[in-house]
């Protein structure tokens, strides 16, 4: 928790607070925030702006029987029992990621993308895509395509990029301009969650783009 050095940008946090991020990016943001109280507090301050906007917003009259109708809904659909806080064994994946995977690491259905690198694409809306990558220690991470923005969040192990180390909880935010070759460090295999703007190109390209790094 305290070792995170690479955080989300203000733009990402504000867009997420405002509800304007593609689902794939939102998943990376929600997963990082689950691991990082610094960004959780920054996010809350951007949500406070939303509170102020709502509070200052002009009113729009509700229909006449609206309160009664709402109370009826409450009576007809009684609240579920207060769910206990998830107290299961703390796994590798924070809850938002588990929701998309359908469980923790052991529930992931990996597919090879060439060499020893494996991935699984998670189901989100189409404007952007997000995948889990499993990269053996010491191996280069396949190029994400350099089309648009990419977010890479480390969940296990670490990678090295441009002289910086990214470990669990760290997130790398890269634009089109960044030429980079992240390499998984020796030790544990690296597992990361990577989102990108350019789903179609990314899907078609990954095996080919991986070639120079993986020697396949």
């Amino acid at each position: 928790m305290t070792n995170i050095k690479h955080h989300l940008t203000d733009d990402l946090l504000m867009s997420y607070a405002a509800g304007n991020l593609p689902e794939a990016f939102s998943l990376v943001v929600a997963t990082h925030v689950s691991l990082c109280d610094e960004c959780r507090a920054r996010l809350a301050s951007y949500e406070a702006v939303g509170g102020a906007v709502l509070y200052e917003a002009p009113c729009c009259a509700m229909s006449e029987d609206s309160l009664a109708a709402t109370l009826l809904r409450i009576a007809e659909a009684p609240q579920d029992a207060v769910p206990a806080r998830a107290t299961g064994a703390p796994g590798l994946f924070p809850q938002p990621l588990r929701d998309y995977v359908g469980g923790d690491l052991d529930a992931v259905q990996w597919k090879s993308v060439g060499g020893k690198v494996r991935q699984t694409v998670l189901p989100t809306s189409k404007e952007a895509s997000v995948r889990l990558l499993h990269i053996p220690a010491g191996t280069a991470i396949p190029d994400h395509g350099h089309h648009g923005m990419e977010l890479t969040l480390v969940l296990q192990g670490a990678f090295q990029d441009e002289g910086e180390r990214f470990g669990r909880g760290d997130v790398e935010v890269a634009g089109e301009d960044l030429e980079h070759t992240p390499v998984a460090t020796p030790g544990d295999d690296c597992i990361c969650l990577a989102a990108t703007d350019a789903p179609l190109k990314f899907n078609g390209l990954i095996p080919r783009m991986a070639q120079p790094f993986l020697g396949i």
């Binding site: 689950s34 509170g51 509070y55 200052e56």
Partner: protein, 191 residues
């Protein structure tokens, strides 16, 4: 310097937002319908306007505003006045409803961090956060028109993420620091 005068100012100042916190408390602990009606009268028309500005027609906005208020009732126990004003909390519920109903997407949310059942909110922290939230509201109102409009459009969901500039000129640092400290206390209690 003048503790008495300052304490008095704090109490007086706290009344407007503290009222909403007390009403949510009553919904949570007593299922108090009168308290809910007061919250409804204030927030439902604002949520409806918010959703219409986000592109919903009147019927859908009415429907969603009712659902937002149902969620407020059902999740009152999750509201934490040390980390959000009532308006901010209602905003997050309305935003999530908008993403679901208008954008037809799932909304990945961070893991919930909640205090233990025996936790009593720190009054001084709650009041300080309320004051800072009100200050933020005044700062927003005082922004130059075009800048304020841009922020509003972003929060109505009217700007794509690449168009958003997070440099708002709003006083967010104090709120961030206060929430950060609340999170530290919460983590300490969870150990």
């Amino acid at each position: 310097m003048f503790p008495t005068a300052r304490a008095k100012a704090v109490t007086q100042h706290a009344t407007s937002d503290a009222r909403w916190v007390r009403l949510v408390e009553r919904v949570k602990s007593d299922k108090d319908q009168a308290a809910f009606a007061a919250l409804f009268a204030h927030f439902a028309p604002r949520v409806k306007a918010f959703l219409m500005k986000s592109g919903a027609d009147a019927a859908l906005a009415e429907e969603c505003a009712q659902e937002v208020m149902v969620t407020l009732w059902n999740k009152a126990h999750l509201f934490d006045p040390e980390r959000a004003s009532v308006a901010t909390w209602v905003f997050t519920i309305a935003r999530n409803r908008r993403i679901d109903a208008l954008r037809k997407q799932r909304r990945p949310e961070p893991e919930e961090l909640t205090w233990g059942p025996e936790h009593e909110p720190e009054q001084s922290e709650t009041i300080a956060l309320q004051q800072e939230s009100e200050q933020l509201g005044r700062a927003l109102a005082a922004l130059p028109e075009n800048q304020r409009m841009l922020i509003e459009r972003a929060y109505f969901g009217d700007l794509s993420h690449s168009e958003i500039a997070a440099e708002t000129g709003l006083p967010l640092g104090t709120i961030k620091s206060r929430i950060r400290l609340a999170l530290d206390r919460l983590r300490h209690e969870m150990k």
